[in-house]
Symmetry: C2
Subunit: 206 residues, 2 copies
Amino acid sequence: MISEKGILLIISGPSGAGKGTVVSELKKHGDYALSISATTRQPRINEQDGIHYFFKTKECFEKMIENKELLEYACFCGNYYGTPASYVYEQIEKNKTVILEIEVQGALQVKESYPEAILVFLTPPSMEELERRLVSRATETPDKIKLRLGRAKEEFDIIDKYDYIVINDSVKRAVDDINCIVKSEKMKAERNINLKELFYNLCNNV
Amino acid sequence: MISEKGILLIISGPSGAGKGTVVSELKKHGDYALSISATTRQPRINEQDGIHYFFKTKECFEKMIENKELLEYACFCGNYYGTPASYVYEQIEKNKTVILEIEVQGALQVKESYPEAILVFLTPPSMEELERRLVSRATETPDKIKLRLGRAKEEFDIIDKYDYIVINDSVKRAVDDINCIVKSEKMKAERNINLKELFYNLCNNV
């Protein structure tokens, strides 16, 4: 009876937060699907269309932008990357939790096109650990460290636009936390107004 | 690092939803505290002030209303009943989840005085089961059934003002669901903005 529509779950966080590991654990569950990006870059060996990416020509991608078929997009190194809405919506209709691992600016773009999206910010276990990760690579110049700090600062700057903060002190616990967020989101009253209708029908039949 | 302030958790639901059983299971956990009502009615044998109720004189209760010291109150059979804010706030400061089992009108009053309160609506497992419970007592007159139906209808009518709907198909599952809601609420970004400050301090020290 409880909500049978899936959820779009966006996961962001500073580099070193462990997003990749957490996401790959989550997708072992049947209820999760990974969002597939569209891109104009050339496929690499072993990359398959519709599995790793939706490979598109520049014209096709620009038509998708024009038709608002993307939840977000950006341009890196002369290539477009974006999230096709149709694939996400299809999975949501199938009651899947669609995971989109994306940086903060993209995440906010998605939230604008699809306000029901749930934004999760994954952080390293402690500020000490984050500091260690930010300055640890001895080979890096002070300039690079500064750049990385600036980027992390920019990310933390908008955590209040996120819905949830998950601390990745152990992968298992972070995965449990995210599962709990999804479960709890599905119990939100606004996702279950159908219960009210069912009840009214019942009252009319008693 | 994650939120160390407690939560006010309001549990409502139609008669027969199993609120009492679920609440008594929840309060076995150390993290939960039960809200204690204030009342002007006489204490019964074995009822202790500050444990079962805060027993007040009429004058004292009306002064509490005047001073806005109650999160909600109502009058039944010539006696006042209400929820003293101070006890709830004390427990929240101690990082407790304060449970308040209350009917829908009271719940909405509390949400108005304390918007951070989380409203959970507990329902019986299915509409069929609710129907069975609503009409089952053979001794009841059609008028009484009608009254009970009307009351349940009134309750369902405002479920969209609730935050979560929990289906009580098994007490264990309902308790797990509520624990999950509390855990997930504590991960809400708005409850953890202190993380941003910690991060800024770190950046300034690197």
